[in-house]
Amino acid sequence: MTRGIDDIRLTGFALGELDGAEQVAVQAYVEESESARRYVQEVRATARLLGGELSRELAAVSTAPNGGGLTDAQHAAIEEEIERALRRQPAVHDMAIRLRRRNIAVMALSMAASVLIVFLALSILMPYLFHHTEVVKEPANHPHDKHETPYYLTDGHTPRDQRAPIPLPVPNLPVPSVADAHHPSIDEPAPPDDWSPLAVHQPHIGPDEGDLSPHDSPLVGVPHGDLPLPTPPLRLVQGGHGRAGRAADTQRAPEQGHPGSNFYSSVNTHSVGTQSTRPALGIGPAPDASGYEPFTDAGFTAATGASTAAFPVEVSAAGYTNLRRFMNYDRLPPPETIRIEEMLNAFTWAAPSPGPDQAIATVAELSPCPWNPDHRLARIVLKARELGSTRPPLNVIFLVDGSESMAADWKMPLLKKALKQSLGLIGPRDQVAIVGGGHYLAPTSGAHRLTMINAIDRLESGGLARGPMSIAMAYECAAGSLTPGDLTRVILVTDGDWEHGLADRAAAERLVEQHARSGVGLSILELGTPNLGDPFMRRLAARGGGTWACADGYAEIRKALAEQLGGGLIQVAREVSAQAIFNPDVVDSYRPVGGEAHPPVPGEDFASASRPVDLGAGRQITALFEIIPIDKHLAANAQDRTALTVRIRYLEPNGQAVRILEYPLAERVTPVSKASVDFRFAASVAEFGMLLRDSKYRGAATLATALELAQQARGGDESGERQEFIDLLRRAKALAARN
């Protein structure tokens, strides 16, 4: 080192980073010193080499398929944000200042409130009386504000008395109206600067749900007689779906024992009595077999007497969730808990999207019945139109139960994972807010994925359920972001503890109904609980104009969220009813596999044949009919004859125009092995259900045949739901062998 000039300064000189006197001094030194000149040249040569190669790296990346940069969707989201920012101008800067001022005020108020709460808690010893909120972090504008986070409210000090009822603050909750929707009513905390109640929604550019890719090529019926109508406008689906568990919603006579029964009677007697306290797989709540009443499987009906059978268009999948809960505890479920139709509707089946002028598409196929080769099995799938990019903007407020019981591995952790995965369904036009779970995320544009992921990551359990307080916050949040034309919905996710905080259930129902009328619906996702199918929660969802679903695993939670976020709340057809009309020349008799058929009462019209329901976008319904043909040996001209006709009746979402679609299904001589993958898998599900029910109609079905069918029909199984079913079958087989 000479004149105090070291290599570091020489490097800086070589790279042009010096200035002033330092630059002059080093320059002079370099001119004097040969070694310094050489050193500077080496540094510059390395810098050129490095700079050139790093530039080439960037150029190489930019020619990659995605351009090495952002995706098209991300570009679109940014463009959306730019447009939004331009609309906000020139008020945006002033608003930011106002918000910052307000934040300071909020923080001051929060501190004062904290002191007050601590004082009250110590002196009165009634900590549950007040809800302490604290602004944790305000949005950063300056780049040096590291780790920018959205606004969150922590729960403060949460009392441990989880069951202390809190009066529902109904009188303090103004019901929002669309007219005053542009004024956010939550003053605390302020929304992030990048959120503006003045934001104008733009066309949806989020992921398009698109068409379902079929596993195979199922026979698709061709509709007859439908009148071409313009694509109908959309309406919200009203009323709750699902009737899982069904402890005692219908009175049924006990089924007589099947003399040939040797599977269930031997297994169930032992296994049901063995009440595990810990699930074999470590997940899910302990199943409770009480409260279910025996019922009789629907029998065969002669086609000559009643050729028309209506089948339900509203079937939940909760029965399958229930089955899995038992299996997770190494128990075979009791027969009275098995609902085959609900098992069938727990799976995703391939179906094309309906034509542009239709709301519902149908897949129907007919093959020999796997458990009775002399019979036929008809599989019918209805699928409501998916909305894709035509879905209106969503304004979703997740109301998350943050009670201690949610801490279980299969609850909050799975919910967080599923929520993050489901963000793919949220587009830049949508808004998401989160209330409960220890935090608060103000309504945030769907374009801010990272912000939402951060908020989801922060969800916690371990506090009070606080039913009334949290729903009040959720509705206030919704009121502040209500936009005409958007679908605004509170989605309550709870394991059931949430309702324990309600002192007045009737008041809660009134509140929910009141808000539903003003445009804020309520859907409920119940994480599987022993009181699966809590009638209050279902009623609450129905009063809120939303849906109820229960889930005990990741796939189910995702599915339920996908339905909420993917447009399933949007009604695409009203008063839908469906019938299978059997040809008495081909069909001797028929029976629905699972559930009970309700033949229309003579003299009554079509609409009364089955309870018509409104169908949400993308909804699927699957039905199986076992058929005894007149000619057990298929006639040579079998394919030319119509075995049955599927007839669907519905109303357009906005209007009274009745549409009737008919899909004739020819008898088809196709061996089971050549039937579609979905047909074989559905047959396996039916066999498993009949075996668990100890049904007298199970024919030659065994767990081995069901397993073989399922294994050969797993198909692509992207969601893993079929593999899970196969695993359940294997476990059932092991349990049966053990007993």
Partner: protein
């Protein structure tokens, strides 16, 4: 909003995206080691730019973008409990010594050799070198982005370049005759 502004605010925002998209994505991907998350972070950075006052950001747009992008990356990594990034206060520990042992990368005086040598440097050395030679930031700008001192940045770049030269020349571990290494 100044009178002499050549472009509207919308054009300014769009040109910022155009000019910095590749570099920001590359920077975030490099920091996170994950292309998807890197793109997410870059997108979020641009989204946040949209709500910033132009007059404050425009004079130092590059620093602002890289700073926000880096902070978001640190947030992501912190969540994933992978704290390999240089954080404030860790500079002294991280910059000490030469590059870690070379793990089987052939030393040849080629472009690939330069990149392999770069990859063998410590994460913080790689980061400042990329900001300097790929993104064209000055020591001062890099210091602002990384929350290091200018001296620290100079030291990191100096030792990084020296290690690259040594590896490429097959002289790893030998001290150059010129001067002594000093901290700060």
């Amino acid at each position: 909003m100044g009178e002499a502004r050549p472009a509207s605010d919308g054009e300014w925002l769009r040109s910022a995206v155009r000019d910095y998209e590749q570099r920001l994505v590359s920077y975030a991907v490099h920091l996170l080691g994950d292309a998807d998350r890197g793109r997410d972070v870059a997108q979020e950075t641009f989204m946040r730019l949209c709500s910033q006052p132009r007059e404050q950001i425009e004079p130092r747009l590059g620093e602002w973008l890289f700073t926000v992008c880096r902070n978001l990356c640190i947030d992501v990594r912190r969540k994933e409990r992978r704290m390999n990034l240089l954080a404030e206060g860790q500079a002294e520990l991280q910059v000490a010594g030469d590059a870690p042992p070379h793990a089987g990368i052939e030393q040849e005086e080629s472009l690939a050799g330069v990149m392999a040598s770069l990859a063998s440097l410590s994460p913080n050395q790689q980061e400042v070198i990329r900001l300097k030679f790929q993104d064209g930031l000055s020591y001062k700008q890099i210091a602002e982005v990384t929350h290091l001192t200018v001296t620290n940045v100079g030291f990191l770049i100096h030792t990084g370049l020296k290690n690259i030269r040594q590896r490429m020349a097959g002289e790893a571990g030998t001290e150059k005759p010129h001067g002594s290494r000093t901290r700060r």
